[in-house]
Subunit: 553 residues, 2 copies
Amino acid sequence: MANSVEILPIGGLGEFGMNCLAIRYEDEILVIDAGLLFPDPHFWGVDIIVPDFQYLKDNRDKVRALILTHSHEDHIGSVPFLLKAINVPVYATPYTAAVLASKLDEHDLLDEVLIHTVRPKELVELDPFEIEFIRVSHSTTDCAALAIRTPVGVIIHTGDFKFDETPVCGQPIDTESLRRYGDQGVLALLSDSTNVERPGRMYSERDVIPALENIFDSAQGRIIVSCFTSSIHRIQIILDLAETFHRRVTIIGRSMIRNIDTAESMRYLDVPDSLLITPADTRRFAPHQVVMLVTGCQGEPMSALSRMAVDSHKQAKIEAGDTVVLSARQIPGNEKSISRLINHLYKRHAQVYDSTSGRIHVSGHGSQEDLKMMLEATRPKFFIPIHGEYRQLYQHKKFACSLGYKPEQVLLVESGDVIEIEKDSISVPGKIPIGRTYIDSTGIGKIEDIVVRDRKHLAYDGIIVPIITINKSTGKIENEPEIITKGFNIPYDDENDYLTKLSTLITQTIISSEPDERRDEALIKEKVRLEIKRFVQRRTGYRPTIIPVILEV
Amino acid sequence: MANSVEILPIGGLGEFGMNCLAIRYEDEILVIDAGLLFPDPHFWGVDIIVPDFQYLKDNRDKVRALILTHSHEDHIGSVPFLLKAINVPVYATPYTAAVLASKLDEHDLLDEVLIHTVRPKELVELDPFEIEFIRVSHSTTDCAALAIRTPVGVIIHTGDFKFDETPVCGQPIDTESLRRYGDQGVLALLSDSTNVERPGRMYSERDVIPALENIFDSAQGRIIVSCFTSSIHRIQIILDLAETFHRRVTIIGRSMIRNIDTAESMRYLDVPDSLLITPADTRRFAPHQVVMLVTGCQGEPMSALSRMAVDSHKQAKIEAGDTVVLSARQIPGNEKSISRLINHLYKRHAQVYDSTSGRIHVSGHGSQEDLKMMLEATRPKFFIPIHGEYRQLYQHKKFACSLGYKPEQVLLVESGDVIEIEKDSISVPGKIPIGRTYIDSTGIGKIEDIVVRDRKHLAYDGIIVPIITINKSTGKIENEPEIITKGFNIPYDDENDYLTKLSTLITQTIISSEPDERRDEALIKEKVRLEIKRFVQRRTGYRPTIIPVILEV
């Protein structure tokens, strides 16, 4: 029997999103989560980024199972891509399993995948591992930490969590089970670092009720609420408030309808009888009798709320007297689109509440006191901060050390580092290949790196395609070179002449070449490309993509 | 004599940045400020955006002068572009004039422009206008509100302001002069709306001293401070603290050096003797004797601090034990690049302070109480919120109404609206043409709208250029069509065949065309384009730019 276990972060350490991590003992591998990352806007045409699963593909016969902590996209968004490469059984809590099933169905994979539903406190035996799902609190429902018993010791992976003793839906976090493992001895803890920079305790999901109640109490017209579609607690609160204030609820936006459907059918949401009405039915009620629960809290241009705000949605539009509630945080990068949305809402004379107008949103990730409670419940021998950029991981280490952990007990690692843990030691003996795969969800799937780079180059400076016809027998230019440009900013004080000048330059370049050169197509192409490049750059500073085409006739 | 005056916002109302506004009485026009806007990243290759000055160009013979409130880029950044179109005299306070002069020098315009330096309380007579510069507080120095006396009444334009009775540099805001105009009667107030959503009073520039002092007190090694290069108050505080704590200061980054130079030579900054040392000289001092004042507080990749953080700066690099202080706000859109910078700083074992670590930055724009003080000092008959997106303008109107202004006294307008004010009425009788001009600062200047649109299209889906050679006499295809692609994601499961299939498609399209069609080059090009478009979209969902080239031989 080997005396070490390996932890292999494939994504999510040193970056937010794309969480994926493997635990290996000898020739047996467990994978925990397979999430995605939403790209910055300069990844032209890339819709999502998923991890490069090369390490798992190289070891496909060793991977026993994929274990999911919860249903957020940064934890399950790349599961279809992983399962297409290596089809292994999946273990997840009922709600997570249901969300995954709907996702796999979209990818035509549902019939091919084996999904095991696991309830908290149940044990999953996958020799030599034994996995217990432990209930934790978070912004969606049915979330779990994982206690993974290995021959070397117990590893606890928190998933995303906070300590919420008064959740709106489901049970509170199962601190007792965490403590039980702590009492028995935990070899290593991997814990969520997202909110390590926030002091104090994170609020309960219930803590948004007073502020939302005030809004319901004072609104004269319709109330339009947007939140993350996975925020099951928040949705339950809105439904309950609607009933209390004698309002009916209509749901607009595909993903909102789907998520509420799933959660209600599994009884994670309690929807009072005859509370829901169709968008068309809202006309039969007075404004003060209506709540709309809609997608689009990030100002996404194609979402229900953004379209309602510019009169381009079929089912509803924002009207004077509406109260719009954005019950969500602003995801970094979305500030401008949210501002744009709010401008439109004001122009239509709606009243707007966002996270600056009181506690109408709370985070699902624990603050420092929550993180401290996790460390104190589990008292691990070794601690590895996960989920965050280097900045958060670094602060989480610093925080653990301020609680008495020795620096050598806390390992600061990033995706790709191989972590080897023995009974009494932890080290980083090497690296595994990791990377990012760009996905275009409307197109054909994977986008090659070179294509993304080319697009960036095209986006900044455009393209010039000079087309040159050369007579095969004489080696002379047949007609004046044709020049096509797109996205290239032709100097405006020179518009009529610029392309003619380029054309003349090409002709001269070819005339002045030796006959031997002219017969070498590759060489003459490169010569033309360089001449144009120099000419353009000197005059304009631009570096367009230049692709000469030579046709021999 | 006419009995109305027009206010014509050309930029900055309904958008942050690009502030520019004209005041017209009969055939006399004053322009107030000419700022720029930094574009969102999806404006491919666009470095800055300046207003379309069409209205001013159309009325060039009527424009008497350009008056500047202060030296920030969103107020003076497009002055060179305006002056190139219409060369009029400029009026500004000494520091603003100096910053402008250096900017005009870069554009080779300095010798052609007449700049008048005006001190606060001085009157500028430009018949029929009389303009008084009134000192206001802001994050840079020598900022002014403008009291513009017209035959119809006095208009007050606040510029950017807060009420700071204890500034670090220069004099406090001149509330007395504002009140004097209030006593005499103000026809209209145009007031800064930036921070209308913040309750209370904005902090004094001086209020950052305690937190910075603590950092200086506890730092063991070098202290590296980055702030906006125009934050003259902040720079003075850093210099003073350095002297108090017996540290020398070195300045790194071109714009930081230039701004400090300008401010010191004009005595807006008080630099103690022998405080400054060169970057090379820092080696002669112990780490605890050194402060570096550097550019890059927004994580700009080419700035001094970002390069120091990845060892690519010639003069300095971040070392273990350094304390890095980011004494600035995060401009929306820059969160990710700042996070990236902080990750690198931590990897080099520096200690990092940013605006989340205590009050090491204060805003230069007044909060609600400041805005209230401005309204109470000037007591205008009409009020027009300026400087902000619709959201801020809307809130500023709401705020004024909560103070007792009647809705009809407050005008909510956006750039392009013509505001007509008579002694007892205000209205919006029409619109003037406005717009945005895209500038590439490394290239040839103006970028056409169509080029920006083309780049966006190229960036998302790439380009396909099929080249088809047709025999002029027979109308037949001479050789197999050549197909060039760039940034187009060829389906990866079909890589070898895809272009061949496209080529075959083209040949078939041409063969199946009538001889008359083949002779019509435009028609055949469009036919080929549509066939390729359909084929590509059906298979991949992409919509690349397609430019068929037909060569007749």
